[in-house]
């Protein structure tokens, strides 16, 4: 049984319990999962689940609280799911104003050969409406003589504040997706951050397919 979360940049796979992550562009031609979700699931999965449903189902299973908000910061978009009294209370999906934030951060680190683990968080953020507008502001700062790591820290702070506000400014923010591995981003969020990792949606797929089998 192969389960796959086919994201814009990375695909998270669970093959008979074995978890791995590969760049989506490196997926073999004709690769097909039994059950999948994500932006690139079409053509790569026999059955497709709505990506917000798989994400919310995984988050509910991984967080032992009745009230919480979980945010998945992806390459292309930001997803949020909220639970109140152990009941699903709402979801949101920012694929316009928050778009490309994750992708842009990865692009920046490659372009400038940056190690996000080594950069100190900034108290002051850049207004980052989206990745493209944000990177333009960052280049302006660098051109004005700002130290590169400090400028990047301000960019990341801007993205982190967007995510924090998108989440509804919680005291504790449950974070999913590739940004869990970016310490600069995590430390730039002004809340307690609990990292759930990159397989939240895959965990959701596991539960949903088990339920489905149980119903048959």
């Amino acid at each position: 049984m192969i389960l796959g979360d086919f994201g814009t940049s990375y695909t998270k796979l669970c093959t008979d319990g074995d978890m791995r992550i590969i760049p989506t562009v490196e997926l073999e031609d004709g690769f097909t999962a039994d059950f999948g979700c994500g932006h690139h699931a079409r053509g790569h999965a026999d059955r497709i689940e709505n990506e917000l449903v798989s994400f919310a189902t995984g988050a509910k299973a991984m967080v032992a609280r009745d009230d919480f908000v979980c945010v998945d910061v992806g390459s292309r978009d930001i997803k949020k799911v909220t639970f109140r009294d152990a009941r699903y209370a709402g979801c949101d999906w920012n694929y316009v104003c928050g778009s490309l934030a994750g992708f842009t951060m990865e692009l920046l680190s490659s372009y400038y050969h940056l190690d996000y683990q080594q950069i100190q968080p900034s108290g002051e953020g850049l207004p980052v409406k989206c990745g493209i507008l944000g990177i333009s502001r960052l280049f302006d700062l660098v051109a004005q003589g700002e130290d590169l790591p400090r400028a990047v820290a301000r960019f990341v702070k801007g993205v982190a504040m967007n995510v924090y506000h998108f989440a509804g400014k919680p005291q504790t923010l449950f974070l999913a997706g590739g940004m869990c591995e970016n310490n600069l981003f995590v430390r730039s969020i002004p809340a307690e951050v609990v990292k759930l990792g990159r397989f939240v949606s895959v965990e959701g797929l596991k539960i949903l397919i088990e339920k489905d089998v149980g119903h048959r």
Partner: protein, 242 residues
Amino acid sequence: MVGIIGLPSRSLLDEFRADDMVDLDCPLQGVLSYDAVESRCPKIFCAVLTTCFTNAMLVKPHVILADVGPGKCEGARYLCAILKDLLPSTTIITEENLDSVRRPQTNCECYTVRLRERMQRIVDRVIRPELPDFPKSNSSPRAGFWGVPPRDFAILEGFPDQTIILGWSRCMNSRTPADLQLEMYVPADVPVVFFSQSFCQKSILAKALAEKYQGLFVECDEKVDSSTIQKIEAFLKLRGAL
């Protein structure tokens, strides 16, 4: 040909019943181009009013009946002022429809007919009031759709048949378009999608009511995109409506 904008009063519509009528708020077959209004209509503008504008310029009705009061919007008032200037051969009759006697909203609570079909019936009844209402169901709704009839009816496809119609569409069905109390009615314990056309003043109602009733706020411009469809599907699935 008589063109209709918004929902004029019954008495005004009745004066023109013998004429052919066309609802200018709805996309008309064969009218696909905004070229007719491009030089005068900003890109960032309500898609429904842009549709009214385009249709009026291309169809050139001999009379336009328009509600420009609280049952429609200021945008319609401005649009009619512009049309008076651009269509000198058209008689433009504006009014503030304050009809307050509600008719039964059975189309909104018939759960054996698809949501899209019921919404279409509500819209069609503006110019064809002889069309029968769908019967009210005795069962409870599983979901709700709040808002105006959308520019793109594709947004209605993913809802279960057991979806109650709320908001201004309900007022339209009731033929009381300025009935704010009815527009703000939301039943308890029903997962409701609060829809607004982009750039519409009603978006503040949609957003605030979504927060109050733990619903989902969505806004769309001309065409609904797949991400919005997925967001609605997830909301309905996770709240047990699908």
